[in-house]
């Protein structure tokens, strides 16, 4: 008899908690940031298509579906590190097939040579080129992501990619070259850092 009572009590408890959990699942549902958005936030948004996907978001979707994280040359190493951390994958070097990491560059139209064909305007993924048919075009440097997409369509090759110059305003200090980075230079044996562990970190 006591066994039946115990089972009944447990059943009732199970039912109550089941209901509570069921309601909690509905009412306290967390709209979690989908992983695609998180990946997209880490990508540089140049929309250059060097990853072979038509834009950053499609590549983010591909990564979410298991594609490699090393196909983004504009993002470079730091993006790969960030993606590796987000997705819990190992760091892989940038895939050379998709291009190499260059510094930040912007397009510059040699305006005297522009014939006003509007082809670059159509190619620009972020509407950073201003102009009209048979009028000179120009690049809004602040909006340019340096994606190179306007280079190819230009019929007169009058677009250059110029590296962004550092000014006193956006200059930053270099990392001090610390002589103790090489493990041999350590003065105290117990402080010696394993070089392999150092690079892995």
């Amino acid at each position: 008899m006591s066994i039946i009572t115990a089972i009944l009590i447990l059943l009732v408890l199970a039912a109550i908690f089941g209901v509570i959990l069921g309601f909690a699942a509905i009412y306290f549902k967390v709209d979690e940031d989908p992983v695609v958005d998180q990946i997209d936030n880490l990508l540089p948004q140049t929309q250059c298509g060097q990853c072979s996907y038509p834009g950053c978001r499609p590549y983010a979707e591909a990564i979410a579906n298991g594609d490699e994280i090393n196909k983004c040359p504009p993002g470079g190493e730091s993006t790969i590190h960030a993606l590796a951390e987000l997705l819990g994958r190992d760091f892989v070097a940038l895939d050379e097939e998709h291009g190499e990491e260059k510094g930040k560059r912007v397009a510059l139209i040699r305006e005297a040579e522009c014939i006003g064909c509007t082809k670059c305007i159509q190619a620009c993924p972020v509407d950073a080129i201003l102009g009209a048919a048979k009028q000179m075009h120009t690049v809004i440097a602040d909006e340019c992501t340096g994606c190179d997409l306007c280079i190819e369509p230009c019929p007169v090759d009058c677009i250059d990619m110029v590296p962004v110059q550092t000014t006193a305003n956006d200059w930053r200090w270099d990392s001090p070259d610390s002589s103790i980075d090489s493990a041999n230079n350590q003065l105290i044996a117990t402080d010696r850092i394993d070089p392999a562990a150092e690079t892995g970190a």
Binding site: Q47, V156, T167
Partner: protein, 793 residues
Amino acid sequence: MNKHLHTFHGGIHPPENKVQSTQTPIEPALLPDKLILPLQQHIGQQAQPLISVGERVLKGQMIAAAVGYVSAAVHAPTSGTVTAIEPRTLPHPSGLSEQCIIIEPDGQEQWTDLTPLTNYQQVAKETLLQHISNAGITGLGGAGFPTSVKLNPSQDLNIDTLILNAAECEPYITADDMLMRERAEEVIQGLHIIAHILQPSQCLIGIENNKPEAVDALQQAIESSHLKDQIRVLSIPTKYPSGGEKQLIQILTNREVPNGGIPADIGIVCHNVGTAVAVSRAISKGEPLISRITTITGEAVKRQGNIEVLLGTPIEALLTHFEVQQDQLHRVIMGGPMMGFTLDSVQLPVVKASNCILATTRKELPDPAPEQACIRCGMCAEACPATLLPQQLYWFSKSREFDKALSHNLLDCIECGACSYVCPSNIPLVQYYRFAKGEIRIEEHERTASDHARQRFEARQARLDQEEADKEAKRKARADVAAAAKKEKAAAQDNGEKKPVDAKAAVVQAALERAKARKAQKAAEAKGSTDTPAADTTEKEKQSAPAMSAVERAKARKAANAAKQPNDSETASEGEKKTGGLSALEKAKAKRAQSSTAPNAEDQATPASEKPQAKGLSALERAKAKRAANGDEQTAEVSTDAGSGTQAKPVKALSTLEKAKAKRAQAAAQDSGETDAPAEGKPLSAIERAKAKRAETVQTPAEKTTPASNTDESAETANKKPMSALERAKAKRAEAATQSESADTETSEPVTEPLEEKPAAPMSALDRAKAKRAEKAASQAADDSTADTEKRD
């Protein structure tokens, strides 16, 4: 003095070294050979120059205006001539170059008209702020933040305390000390003006107790002040870095500036005493900020002291004035030994924020000892005035874990250098923090930029989608209308009534005919205006207009020629209509090329291609050759012959064009059933003959379609519609040529020269466009392995 003082955490007591430079009074300004005035001497946007090179400027004249809100104007420190506006190395740790105005003083010290605001109490606050902004005043304590911005805190902040920072805690520097000793009245007057603008309930002057003379001078000046009850001079214990804004606020008021905030957030505004003097001069005398007091000290200079320096004075001139011992000189530091930076060159100018030039010997300030491992002693944490954990920040900065460094409040670090000073392992901790801060700032910037780019990309995508949808909707609407019409028509047919449809077709037909007639008329008119080739030539020579109009004239003349053949005028003008600007140019070129095939063409062509602008021409010719090659693939054998025939030609580009022409001509000739293709002989004459041949072919209505279809094919290969039109136009012209017999070659000869000599930009651009297109076509027709292709490449 009766106020209870507080203290801040940590701090250090480095040797002061202040006595050396306080023995002599402030020396008057010296006039160097030249003044270098960077447009960026402050935090914020670079100023915009108002003068041009060669202009004479007067002392105090504004030579660069502030751009935007956070910016400061630059004024001429003396009268003289602007000799250059060019990038010069800045006195900045980066060693970067930025635009500077170089002034050569004329020694007359002629002032510009000054507008003092003597009755500042009656002037609106906005006018005062504008006046201070126009005077180019920035914080003179070291950071160089525009003062007018600091004096205009947000309206919802209630400023109850104004602090004048006279602590001057960094070793060696005595500029503020000497300023207060000698110009206490001006300091207090500046304080009055600032207090008038901000309306605080109390004014505090924080001064370290190692400056008793300055304290006395200030007390005396306050005695005669109308704000005597509000102003208090507070002597604080000497401890580095008590002159840090946040630290001084904590000492005087025991309030802490919140993380990421500014003093105004807690009702406090803090200004340097030097800034107060600058404000006083700007308001009471109308003088802009053109000089400052700078300490020149260090063991490498014989005389140590303070001097009023015109902004832009090269440091070299100052060091010479203070008798620098070059053999002793080891480092020149701008700023103090704790927070200053070593200068690479003594050619750099003094700027608004340069409070000290420290010329040290090797013994006085040795090079930093090699960095050793952190022993986790914790002395840095004890010394940190911002109560941070320098050791943790060091690890995070070093391993680039910037998010962790951020969570340990890296951005609250004031880079005072106390931690580095006490570190027994000589770790340059501040450098690590500066590096990490820079990286964080860049990362932050990149994140905003990428968010912005994403936004723009998505907006564009949405716009394109919308356009597509609109187009689709329109198409659908049209389809619906068409379907309805069809239905109606079907219904009408059922009724046996076909008449409405016929009427419609008739209307369209009539419209087409009208258009044709109009075109023919136009062509005839063109003929009338450019009737004689001679008149045409002179007109061309007169022309200094862009090449485009020349092209148009060429077109007109061609049309005129065509008009001689009334039967064909319609076709020609139709072709013209289709080709548009590009092909019009091509036609003109073709004409020129044709004329260069005259007997003396070889002589003419060689110098032409040597000219720089001939580069574009040859590209065009290559393009044409390629197109021709594509079009004539079916006549590969003939083209091979033509290629071998012209291989001996010296002018490569031209010969390619001619080859192409010959080929096309041959193709045409072959199609017309004639085997007259003596290309292996002299290519030039071959072209002539081939042209004549083609012209003949065209004249025969029965054969007319054959070359046309041939050229159409070539046009298809090149993916360009206007080409076929061009071909047709050419045929037409050739026809005209045969009609006017040999006269053609003679008359077109002089036309060639003016056309070729015009290196007009639009033309070359077009040429390049064509060349590029042709190259694309070439890559498409990669299998085309005729001798022709090889030679072209």
